[in-house]
């Protein structure tokens, strides 16, 4: 914490904003709220973080809490789920909510709540893994590009442009579909497609930070370019990258479930939210609840990620205010 180049982004960003933006207008109202609230003396890191987040509006905290709750519930699925996710009860097909089946049963008499809880382990878990992988790969490529010679940098960025020129859903569809439709290949396809925005952002941010005095100082003291990149530049570009990764988590969630819905990801009877939605389509007109529950779950997860992501971006990414 002591070194100036690895300063805590939560506190640095609002402080930098005070001078940059004149008061008045919508976005500035939020910025000044952030500035005044976080300007107070707080004791711990968590209190500071909480105040800063709360200042961006009630949604940020709410989104994070809902997301956290979903993760905890899904992680505890083996303990709290009332049934087995693949246990079929043919006598109790398409039932409404009851004490035995809190969200009713699907077309094969399986408990929807149980399947949602277990499904979250896949849908949320794989989305998180994909997002972490794309953030890391993209950041490393972007930093490498910023530290390389002009020619290599240009080549890498042209390649990023080309990958970004493909419509993401179609590229994921083609890669996952041609390899062999299963969950691993879908995750792989999402990673192959998803790293490029991170590379571009990491490079732009690193190019800016590279001009600062402390980087020059580090180079003068004889630090290797690897050390300069990861010890001095990376901590300073982490904020915007984290903000972007939160926004991309929403995309990962939606496309993972969406392509599973199309039959390209997890395969039945795996309890995955998109797969559940697809299976429910057949019984849609008889029993809408079968379809409403997994859809609403995906919606809630994406919504909380997106709302929290907006708030986090306001705090973490000074360029997007």
């Amino acid at each position: 914490m002591a070194s100036p180049c690895s300063a805590d982004p939560l506190t640095v960003a609002p402080a930098a904003a005070i001078g940059d933006f004149p008061p008045g207008g919508l976005s500035d109202a939020i910025v000044s709220r952030v500035a005044t609230k976080s300007g107070r003396q707080s004791k711990t890191f968590f209190q500071r973080a909480f105040r800063t987040l709360a200042a961006t509006g009630p949604g940020t905290i709410l989104g994070l809490v809902i997301l956290g709750l979903m993760i905890v519930l899904c992680a505890l699925a083996p303990i709290i789920a009332p049934h087995d996710p693949t246990e079929m009860n043919m006598l109790a097909r398409l039932q409404g909510p009851s004490w035995q089946y809190p969200l009713g049963t699907d077309g094969l008499g399986r408990c929807i709540l149980t399947r949602l809880l277990y499904g979250g382990q896949i849908s949320l878990g794989v989305s998180f893994l994909v997002t972490i992988a794309t953030t890391l790969i993209g950041s490393v490529i972007g930093l490498a590009s910023a530290m390389s010679s002009k020619l290599v940098d240009e080549a890498i960025m042209r390649f990023v442009d080309i990958v970004l020129a493909f419509p993401p859903v179609i590229l994921v569809l083609v890669i996952a579909g041609l390899l062999k439709p299963d969950l691993t290949n879908l995750a792989l396809a999402l990673i192959i497609v998803g790293w490029s925005p991170f590379a571009r952002l990491a490079r732009i941010q690193a190019m800016v930070v590279k001009q600062r005095e402390f980087v020059e100082a580090a180079i003068c003291t004889g630090a290797s370019s690897l050390r300069v990149a990861f010890r001095h530049i990376f901590p300073n570009v982490l904020g915007p990258l984290l903000a972007l990764s939160f926004l991309r988590l929403g995309f990962a969630l939606l496309s993972l479930a969406g392509l599973s819905f199309l039959g390209l990801g997890a395969q039945p009877p795996t309890p995955e939210w998109g797969v559940m939605l697809n299976e429910a389509r057949r019984y849609m007109s008889i029993d809408p609840l079968v379809m409403l529950a997994p859809g609403a779950t995906i919606f809630l997860a994406t919504l909380s990620v997106s709302i929290a992501g907006e708030g986090l971006r306001m705090v973490l990414d000074p360029t997007h205010r």
Binding site: I162, A165, F166, I170, V174, G250, F261, G295
Partner: protein
């Protein structure tokens, strides 16, 4: 004005060239021997003989080095020979074109719908920032970004097709078939447009020339509708272009749900059926169309914003 576009056109050509290499390499993504995949696509799995494989290799040039294969493939594509579909045994070009027109139609309709809705939403939100109506419009746009279209689609079908029976749930034909897919597709652009209009207007309303317009006694409606909106809408043009491109390549799921015979569904079917020529041609077409949309948006920007033109001269 043309000089301002030249670098952009150049970079798009480079991107298209790169995209064509990646598209060409799709062939090697299918596990196993590409010649076998092609032979299976043409003659069916059970009848493949080693002679057939050799014939396919010689004919498609699979026995040649990679760069030569690519050059041959690219020459065919550029001259309009997109190959023969494995599934339908017909030339790819004509029916890909037909599918593209459907997607284009759907895209334009949903963009127009969402623009018509976004204008009043963004306008009201910008005029009363941080009020309840602003909060409401922000919330709506949050919903629009997060709602899964593969859920919204069936829900709307449930309401309008199953329950009320006013709109068809699938197929393609007259305007009634376009309503539901266009609405579902339009939700995301609606969110972005509303935000863009609000942010743009809030910024512009702070400018001095707006104060001047007020001070010289102009009516509020004229200040907003003429002076403010004209400048606030310029950033919107870029976003419309981006969303246009995004919808061209992002309507796969909606097209599948509503059985719309567009490029998205065609690509989905081709991927499921390993119909390589259609996949390659379709992906290239979409990437190209997105590039064109991009350039078009830039042209409109140049026309709408004289300061951009001056900067280039």
């Amino acid at each position: 004005m043309l000089s301002a576009l030249t670098p952009k056109l150049g970079s798009i050509l480079v991107i298209l060239f790169g995209a064509s290499i990646i598209t060409f390499l799709f062939m090697f993504m299918i596990p196993g021997d590409p010649a076998w995949t092609i032979a299976r696509g043409r003659y069916g799995e059970s009848t493949i003989t080693p002679e057939m494989l050799a014939e396919v290799r010689a004919e498609t040039g699979l026995d040649q080095p990679l760069p030569i294969q690519y050059a041959r493939w690219l020459a065919n594509v550029v001259t309009g020979d997109l190959g023969i579909s494995f599934l339908t045994k017909e030339p790819v070009g004509p029916y890909l074109g037909k599918a593209f027109l459907v997607t284009l139609q759907l895209t334009v309709i949903s963009l127009v719908l969402s623009l018509i809705l976004a204008l009043p939403l963004g306008l009201i939100a910008a005029l009363k920032p941080l009020s309840w109506i602003d909060t409401a419009s922000t919330t709506i746009s949050q919903f629009g970004i997060s709602v899964p279209e593969y859920w919204l689609g069936p829900v709307l079908v449930l309401i309008f097709s199953v329950h009320f029976g006013v709109l068809p749930s699938a197929e393609w034909g007259d305007w009634k078939h376009m309503v539901l897919p266009a609405v579902v597709l339009g939700f995301r652009p609606l969110s972005y447009f509303t935000r863009m209009i609000r942010v743009g207007l809030v910024d512009v309303l702070r400018e001095n020339y707006i104060r001047t317009a007020h001070a010289k006694g102009l009516a509020q409606s004229r200040v907003i509708g003429y002076h403010a909106l004209r400048n606030a809408l310029i950033p919107l043009i870029t976003v419309v272009g981006l969303q246009f491109a995004g919808l061209l390549g992002g309507s796969v799921i909606v097209e599948v749900i509503f059985a719309v015979p567009g490029v998205g569904r065609l690509l989905y079917q081709s991927v499921m059926g390993r119909d390589l020529p259609v996949i390659q041609a379709g992906v290239l077409l979409v990437v190209g169309a997105m590039g064109v949309a991009n350039v078009l948006a830039d042209c409109v920007c140049l026309i709408a914003d004289p300061t951009l033109r001056c900067a280039e001269d």
